[in-house]
Amino acid sequence: MVHTHEPRPRVGLFATCLVDLIRPSIGFAAAKLIEESGCEVVVPSQTCCGQPAFNSGDRATARALALQAIDAFQGVDYVVAPSGSCAGQLKKHYPELFAGEPDLARRAEAFSGKVHELVSFLVDVRGMSAVKARFDGAVTYHDSCAGLRELGIKTQPRKLLDSVEGLSVCEMKDPDVCCGFGGTFSVKYGEISDAIVSKKVDNISASNAPTLLAGDLGCLMNMAGKLQRLGRPVKARHVAEVLAGMGDEPAIGEPARR
């Protein structure tokens, strides 16, 4: 788009393990959007950012995975992840993991400085204000916690969604309240997680939007799984898929077309 004459920045796409394993279409949507913002995309060999270990108190594993990711993403100008939660881990928590070890901390900080969540990268770093995409119908947008509170992502996705042809945003009540996912919390404290997501899906249904969007696949799988268990017709998609014009993929948890 705007930056055609400058050398194209190299962006390392950190797909996140959930996207890598469960829903690659989000990775392709992210790559497409990053390219549209005038960057070159590379996908270094990667596994997981280490957040499950970090949040389970297993610091040694979290550190090993952090160093592994920092090594894998050398030589890129930016590291971009289609997840506020993983981007938060890479950006905010990696430096914490090496506090008190100046050499490693410096490396972690240099790395963290390059990290951005996908939609905030497009809007805040690349100055994107519109996308060329079409999606027919109303959507409601859930603000995932880490993106919202660790990275300040709130207006950016709404701004880009506004530019999607045929799309309108219907805000739900309390879009900024946790969906109850919380990573391993959703399995370890399944009952409480279920109580929280039950309130969430009621708010989603009450918005009357047939489509739910968010920027984190974990939260989306949680909300989609509850909506489907209750037989509610709302379809869940990652915001990147809609912004990239890939909103015709089968929605999360829906069967592939034959």
């Binding site: 469960i22 690659p24 270990a53 995975l65 916690c145 997680s193 279920d194 592939a256």
Partner: protein, 475 residues
């Protein structure tokens, strides 16, 4: 007499019960509707609110860095004003001081203002055992006492109850209350409690209050209330005991005025509470009223060892309850499920420090880390980070559940070997995708019953992203 044992080890069972208690669930709706919007409005009205939060954090940090000096100065001022300061290293020590004073003055009853420290040291049960009758004078605490319960919230002790339940308690406990007296409005409940309590204030031999702040500069203790019961508790009886923990200290009256501005707004959305009461020493000769004796019990109970460690920031807490008011887990299960005095995010950090992580180990784990607590904490305590510190300690000490540890080990074995990871996940996802192809999701999955008991789980699309990306690049 009831001595309370923490039920925090049974957090999961407690939560299970709480989720199935319709009356509790109805009452918990009030937390969300009652507190959040009010705080928001109060904060939005004050342009400098965020700056005030920084100032509040800094005042507390400064005080904690020099706590020994400020404690000394405070003690000196209280003594100069004719009061007595008792340092109590443990809960036991604090209870003993109270009971000794009661015995010395021959007290039969003690009128109590709201105090979470009293709950922390489980004072009422021990007082009764010593033959002294505690009378709770805060409306919420009074109801709790009638019911033989513990508060479920640090600011609103009976938030877990509905009005009709309280009416029932009153009708059962208040002799001579006519059946046809209308108690359907909260005001009428308050009036009924007032009438009962008045008599007890006048009969009490000792009055006890907590403290929201202790001022080093002047030796003053400060309480904030909305009912005025605290004033009566401390002025009518002949002995006033202030029960407070050491981290309630702030250096000066100026500092207090800053703290008060964030406290009420964060707690109830008020600009300031209805009563802010300062007390410094016993009645002086020219005073028309006031207690003849003034005692301050400063409880440590593990706090000084927190000072030098990684949980020090928790000592900034001013007990406003904003963190629990905004917590989705608290909204779901209420305060009693946490199993000890302090519920919600602040309790999930503090309780393991005070009763041991072996007992309270669930609490710092039962959080989604949504971060809403930290985003509203007036003294900017990084609650999720501190809960994570506890998880690390549990992991190091092998206190985390075996299933969690072996799951982590299995997963990290692959995550730390990218080549193997790519191969294994590719095989695994293809198989799962095939299994889930017709529905696009699973209604049950082995080892994930916590999830699939109540939610479907999306099936993978097919090949992994990395495999597909590399295949495209080759083309």
């Amino acid at each position: 007499m009831t001595i309370h044992v923490p039920t925090s080890p049974a957090f999961k069972d407690n939560a299970h019960e709480a989720l199935r208690d319709p009356a509790l669930q109805r009452a918990l709706g009030n937390v969300e509707s009652g507190f959040i919007a009010k705080r928001r409005k109060a904060a939005d009205k004050l342009p400098e609110f965020e700056a005030l939060r920084d100032a509040a954090r800094d005042i507390k940090n400064h005080t904690l860095a020099h706590l020994d000096l400020y404690l000394e100065a405070y003690e000196k001022r209280v003594t100069e004003a004719g009061g007595h300061v008792h340092f109590a290293p443990t809960a036991d020590d604090a209870r003993k001081v109270v009971i000794d004073i009661c015995k010395r003055v021959g007290a039969k009853t003690i009128a109590k203002g709201k105090s979470m420290i009293s709950e922390e040291i489980d004072l009422n049960g021990h007082l009764e055992a010593a033959g002294v009758t505690p009378v709770e004078t805060d409306l919420g605490e009074y109801i709790i006492q009638l019911r033989g319960e513990r508060p479920s919230h640090i600011v609103a002790p009976v938030i877990h109850l509905n009005r009709d339940q309280i009416e029932e308690n009153f009708r059962a406990a208040h002799e001579g209350l006519p059946d046809d007296r209308d108690l359907s409005a909260p005001e009428s409940l308050l009036a009924e409690a007032r009438a009962m309590l008045r008599k007890k204030f006048l009969a009490a031999d000792v009055g006890m209050t907590g403290a929201n702040f202790l001022v080093a500069e002047t030796g003053t203790s400060i309480i904030v209330t909305n009912e005025g019961n605290g004033d009566l508790s401390q002025t009518l009886p002949k002995v006033h005991i202030v029960l407070a923990s050491i981290e309630k200290l702030v250096p000066t009256l100026d500092d207090v005025s800053q703290m008060l501005r964030v406290l009420a707004r964060s707690a109830t959305g008020q600009d300031i509470t209805v009563y802010t009461t300062f007390s410094t020493g016993p009645r002086r000769e020219a005073d028309v009223d006031g207690p003849g004796e003034y005692h301050v019990i400063l409880l440590d109970n593990g706090r000084s060892s927190m000072l030098g460690g990684e949980f020090r920031e928790m000592l900034r807490c001013i007990r406003c309850a904003a963190c629990m008011n905004h917590c989705p887990v608290y909204h779901a299960v209420g305060g009693h499920a946490y199993g000890w005095v302090y519920p919600g995010p602040m309790g999930s950090v503090l309780s393991p420090s005070l009763i041991g992580v072996d007992k309270a180990g669930h609490l710092p784990n039962a959080s989604t880390f949504c971060g809403r607590c930290e985003s509203v904490c007036p003294v900017r305590i990084p609650l999720p980070k501190l809960m994570r510190n506890w998880r690390e300690k549990e992991f190091e000490r092998h206190l985390s559940p075996a299933t969690v540890r072996s799951g982590l080990r299995f997963w990290s074995f692959f995550a730390r070997r990218p080549g193997l990871y790519r191969f294994a996940t590719r095989v695994g996802m293809r198989a799962l995708a095939l299994a889930g192809r017709s529905k696009g999701r699973f209604a049950s999955l082995p080892l994930a019953g916590g999830w699939t008991g109540s939610r479907d789980f999306a099936a993978p699309q097919g090949d992994t992203f990395q495999a597909q990306w590399r295949a495209r690049a080759k083309r």
